[in-house]
């Protein structure tokens, strides 16, 4: 990949989205800590808009759409320019995209605080903001496809495939699931009823996780890992097979979230089968990542970025084993509706997603601001804090989940239930306190991350080298 002079590229937009991502990350985590505290002490439900039911949605949307999407836009605009060897085709559209994005996310957060909530998980925004999300997605897609069509590099590298499939899939998912009939400006009802609504919703929710927290993160992984290490991806063929198999199989699996509900059983069973199949393409990428470092594992010590990527892909590997196993009917009957699943989600988001985004930003930000990273030492501190925070967090929730699942199922010798529901809640409070503490450790790690990048861009750009 020979590069044209980097001053031709539009990096203002990359920087704008990167720092938007960091802003929404901090906000989303503060809300997360707040609701984690409410779980063992309801005193923090101070006002209607600080109630758990409203705040949980601000947390998930703030981090999924605010942090997640902004980080994806930042890295996509960077990768796109580098791999096509031309600047973003419509820079003013991209700039408008940045402002519009932050407006929609801010209004989204306010509307959720106010209780404008469609209750469809990860699609809670009411219809006017849904239209806003679609518009900002179209603004992004125009630049993606425009730049790709005008590109100077003949072949599209793996990362671009993932960016293309994300752009297409999110559009389909978001529009289909959010179809609703408005009653007022702030209220609408889903066009689907009951079991159909559930089926559409979990097809969406499962795949929005797939196409926000997997596909674009893989795009980052496939681009920034070779860039950071100077090593080519181990197998091009494996990446082709993984890519198409992942995109094909993902969409069949949503109903594993609806196991043992009134949804027709055949849809559940098909979902289980494809969930197991999904292990293969997921591990295709894991193997590709590990083998890329073959013979160069010393970089785990010498190159601070490699730690993030390898820890990240390891959590991805664990996540994609744990997920299909939870989908099995028997295990699902035990684990579903408990904190086990909450632990599962957070290994993916706090481990895989944040680790890879962190390393991508550490690689990208000094290069676009033409300077060095403020402190590698702080980057290492950040790594260990979020690793310890995340591990403590998720393991605590897995144990809490096993305990609660067991208490729900426990019966006395005469066949009656051993515990009432409240027992199964209050016995988890020690775990909830530990989870809160783990969240604080993780949050400190993120503050170090934000500080480190903030100080990096404040440094004077280095003089042009001879």
């Amino acid at each position: 990949m020979s590069e044209t002079r980097s001053e031709n590229y539009n990096f203002t937009i990359v920087r704008g989205f990167a720092f938007s991502a960091l802003f929404w990350l901090v906000i989303g985590l503060i809300v997360g800590l707040w609701i984690a505290f409410e779980m063992f002490n309801p005193a923090l439900n101070l006002t209607p808009w600080l109630g758990f039911g409203r705040l949980r949605v601000v947390h998930t949307n703030g981090l999924g759409l605010g942090f997640g999407l902004a980080a994806i836009f930042a890295t996509s605009y960077y990768i796109l320019q580098r791999l096509t060897r031309i600047p973003i085709l419509f820079p003013r559209l991209a700039q408008a995209h940045l402002y519009f994005f932050n407006t929609v996310i801010a209004l989204g957060a306010l509307s959720l605080f106010a209780g404008m909530n469609t209750t469809k998980e990860y699609a809670e925004l009411e219809w006017p903001l849904d239209i806003g999300v679609v518009v900002l997605w179209v603004m992004f897609a125009i630049n993606v496809f425009g730049t790709l069509i005008k590109r100077k590099e003949k072949q599209m590298y793996i990362s671009l495939w993932y960016i293309i499939s994300m752009t297409v899939a999110i559009a389909i998912l978001y529009i289909v699931n959010n179809l609703a009939i408005p009653v007022t400006l702030f209220k609408s009802y889903s066009v689907y009823a009951g079991a159909n609504d559930a089926n559409v919703e979990w097809w969406y929710a499962h795949n929005i996780v797939g196409f926000i927290f997997t596909v674009p993160i893989l795009a980052m992984f496939y681009y920034f890992l070779p860039k950071s290490t100077g090593l080519p991806i181990y197998s091009h063929r494996l990446s082709i097979i993984s890519f198409w198999a992942l995109n094909f199989a993902y969409l069949w699996t949503g109903a594993h979230h609806l196991m043992l509900t009134p949804l027709p059983e055949w849809i559940q069973t098909v979902a289980i089968a494809f969930s197991i199949f999904l292990i293969a393409p997921s591990w295709g990428s894991v193997v590709n990542g590990y083998y890329t470092l073959q013979g160069n594992w010393d970089q785990m010590r010498t190159n601070y970025l490699v730690k993030f990527f390898i820890a990240g892909i390891t959590f991805y590997g664990l996540q994609t084993l744990q997920g299909p196993l939870q989908g099995l009917r028997t295990l699902n009957a035990f684990f579903h509706y408990t904190d086990w699943v909450v632990g599962h989600v957070h290994m993916g988001t706090m481990g895989w997603v944040t680790m890879v985004i962190s390393a991508s930003f550490y690689y990208m930000i000094p290069r676009i601001t033409n300077t060095e990273l403020y402190s590698v030492k702080l980057a290492n501190t950040h790594f260990w804090l979020i690793l310890v925070g995340q591990f403590t967090w998720t393991i605590t929730m897995w144990i809490a989940g096993i305990q609660q699942g067991a208490m729900w199922k426990a019966t006395n010798p005469d066949g009656s239930l051993m515990y009432n529901f409240l027992d199964s809640v209050t016995s988890l409070y020690p775990y909830y306190k530990l989870r809160f503490a783990a969240g604080v450790i993780y949050f400190i790690g993120i503050l170090v991350f934000v500080w480190n990048l903030g100080m990096t861009v404040r440094k004077q750009p280095r003089q042009a080298e001879a």
Partner: protein, 223 residues
């Protein structure tokens, strides 16, 4: 590789690949009436119950409470008969939930008297000291907004006329403000003086909770 140099063809192919699983597991079931069967025993929500359901959604109750009892022995013991697909024919959106921080509510209708709910919503901790449920006493201090009640039920296709809706609202107001209302004492305790003769958001929410799982008992009995 041909398609890796053709972005538009690549995007179309990706869309096709993505839509195969989508069509089989989502679009086709949408066209099959058996996915969401109906039963004459399951009645739509009244205007007041629907307002209560909207408050349930606004407060995000679904983030802690599920509404689907699974066909598992201990679950049926704890909550009652497992959920049937017909029950959800009028649920737009569905409110099955994904996490039980609190208990399932699909069979809560008729389980407790209204007075229990007034006390419990006002202060869960006064009944269960260690409960982590947020208090919702402020719902009793909000007059129920019935401005869009008819528009809501007609959007949802419940088939009520405007006068039906008014009748339902008046009737429920008469019930809870009646001197002989069995839960009068607990209601008056949480409802401010100026709203004693009005419908509050808490009244509507309780009406909704009492509807959950009520009709299915008739359906099961008829089998």
């Amino acid at each position: 590789m041909g398609i890796t140099s053709k972005p538009v063809v690549f995007a179309v192919l990706a869309a096709v690949v993505i839509l195969i699983g989508t069509t089989v597991t989502v679009f086709i079931p949408l066209l099959m009436p058996s996915t969401q069967p109906v039963s004459a025993y399951i009645k739509p929500y009244t205007a007041v119950e629907q307002e209560g359901r909207d408050i349930y959604m606004r407060e995000g109750c679904n983030n802690c409470h599920t509404q689907t009892v699974r066909p598992l022995r201990t679950e049926v013991l704890r909550y009652g008969e497992y959920s049937k697909p017909e029950e959800f024919a009028y649920d737009r959106p569905f409110l099955w939930g994904s996490r039980r921080t609190g208990p399932d509510l699909n069979r809560v209708g008729g389980k407790y008297p209204d007075s229990w709910h007034y006390k419990h919503l006002d202060s869960p901790q006064s009944m269960f000291e260690k409960s982590n449920m947020p208090p919702y006493g402020w719902l009793a201090k909000n007059r129920l907004d019935i401005q869009y009640s008819f528009k809501k039920t007609s959007t949802l296709g419940y088939g009520y006329s405007e006068s039906d809706v008014h009748k339902q609202i008046d009737q429920y107001r008469a019930t809870v403000t009646d001197d002989n209302y069995p839960s009068k004492e607990s209601r008056s305790k949480v409802t401010p003086r100026e709203l004693q003769k009005e419908l509050t958001e808490m009244d509507a929410l309780i009406a909704y909770l009492q509807k959950l799982g009520r009709d299915v008992k008739m359906m099961e009995a008829a089998k």
